[in-house]
Amino acid sequence: MKLDPVARYARSHEWARQDGNEIVCGITDHAQESLSDVVYVELPEVGDTFDKEDTFGVVESVKAASDLYIPVGGEISAVNEALEDTPELVNQDPYGKGWMVRLRPSDPAEFDDLMDGAAYEAFVAEES
C-alpha cells in the first residue's frame, strides 16, 4: 500500500493534502486497489459546499459503486475534470493525477483531526 507522506487520511479511505490555504482530496491507494478498475467518477460542482463527512460524489468500478465522503468540510474550488474521460487515473496515480476535488476549508482544524500515514496504515491493517 502506497501512502503520500504529507497527506492525512479518513477512515472512509479518502486522503486530504494541504496546498496553500486549500485542501486537495482523493481516494487512497488502498481504496483504489480494493475497488479495482475505476470506470466512472461523479464529482460535485465548483461552488458546492459540504460539511465534513458529507457525500461529495460517487466512484464506480467494475466491482462496485461507492460514495465519496469529504474528509474536510468547505467549498469546492476545483474538480479534476480529467477524470470524466480518464477515470483510470484514480487507479494509476491516486495521490497525483487521480486527485478529485480541491476545496477551501471552512474549519482548517478538521484537517488536523485526520489520521497521519502511520495511523492510517495501522487502521487498514486492523480493518482487514
Binding site: Y40, P44, E45, E60, A64, A65
Partner: protein
Amino acid sequence: MPYVPHSDEDRKTMLAAIGVRSVEELFEDIPAHVRFPELNLPPALSEMEVRWELEMLAGADFTTADGPCFLGAGAYHHFVPAVVDAFLRRGEFYTAYTPYQPEISQGTLQAIFEYQTMICALTGMEASNASHYDGATATAEAVITAINVHRLKRRKVVVSPYVHPEYRAVVRTYTQGMGLTVVGDENSGSAVLTDLLDDETACLIVQYPDFLGRIEDLGPLAEAAHAVGALLVVVADPIALGLLKSPGQFGADVVVGDGQGMGAGLNFGGPYLGFFATRMEYVRKMAGRLVGQTVDTEGQRGFVLTLSTREQHIRREKATSNICTNQGLVALAAAIYMATLGRCGMRRVAELCYHKAHYARQRIGAINGFSVVDEADDGRTPVRYIRPFFKEFVVHCPRPVKEINDYLLHEWEIIGGYDLGRDYPHLQGHMLLCVTEMNPREEIDMLVEALEEVAS
C-alpha cells in the same frame, strides 16, 4: 416437483418445532368469529359451466371486435400483426421472471437490446432502457432523472396541461415526498409554459402530439428549457414518430411514452409499455435495466445487463430508481412490431392514421352543430384552431358528450370519443376523437351519418 407444498408429515414437523399441537391451536389468537369465516358463495361449478358463465359475462362487453372505435386518449386501437403473438408466445420468452443471466439468456437479452436500439432510432435518442410499466410511470421516471441530473438542487417541474391528465396525476403521486413543485397545468394552462421556466426548473414536460392531438414545434421549447439549464422531457406517441420529426432532432433530452400501440393491442387497459430514452450524457441517471452489447473471451458477440451500478441491488437507497421491473414481454412485442413493419411500414401506418383522421375531421366539421375550427367558448384558451394534428382532434358538440356517446353505442354500435370535460372544465361539450388505420372509410362515413342524426 410435487404440487402439494406441505405434506401432513411436514406440518407435524413444523408444528412440533414451534411447540404447537395443531393448526387450530396455531390460529387461536385470532378471534373465533373471524377465524374460519363462511363465505357467501354459490355452489361450485364444473369447468364447463364456469366457461359458459364467463363467456356470457364477456359477451356483455362491447369491444373493438364488435364495432367501430373512435376512442383514443392514450390507449390506441392499432393493428397487431399475427407474427407478434406467434413469436411472443414462445415458451423461451414468457416463462422466466428475471431472465438476465447472460449465460442462459442470450435470446432475451438480444431481443431487449434490439428493442432499445429501435426505440432510440424512433425517438432520436442515444440510449433506451429495457422499459417501464406504462407511459405514465415512464414520465414520472423522467422527472426523477431530471432531478438527479441536477443533483437534487432543482425541485421545480413545469408540465404542459396537455400532457395526458393521468400521466400528470401519476407524476405527482410518484414523486410525492421528494419535495417537488409541479406547475404549469393549473387552470387548464392559463400561463405560458416558457414563462414559468427559471433556474430552479429541473425539466419541462410536453406531449407530442399533445393530449388534444396537436403537433407543436418542439424547437423553441427545447431552446427555452436549455436556456435555463432545464431538460426537455417529451411524452411521445411512437406511432406518430413513424412520420414526424423525432423529439431528439428538436433537442429533447428525455423521450418517454406508451408503446401500447406497437403490438400490444388494447387488452382491456393493460399490460402496457413505458418506453424511456435519453442522451448518453444522462445515461447514469436513467432508471431501469439496460442491456448492452459486448464480446466474450472468444471474441463472439454477446449481450449483458450493463451500468447496473445505478440500480437498487447495488446502490440501495441511492439508486436512480427503486423500480427496476420492466415490461419485458410487451417490450418484446414492440420490438417484433417495429422489426416487422420496418421504417417504411411505421411511416405507412402513421400516414394512414394522419390521412384518415384529417378526412374524418373535415367531414365532421361540415356537420351542422359540430365545429372543429373556432376558438373555444371561453375565448381564452385556443382549442379548436387549425394547428397541425395527427390522429386525434377535438370536436365541439351540440349536445353533452356522454349523451352522444350513449346514442352512438346503443343506436349505431359505435364507440365514440373521449369526453374532455372530465379533465378540462373549459372543454365541457368537447369530444376528443381518434382515427387510426383500423377505421376504414366506411366506418368514418358511418360515424358522420350518426353524428348528423345526433345534430338534427
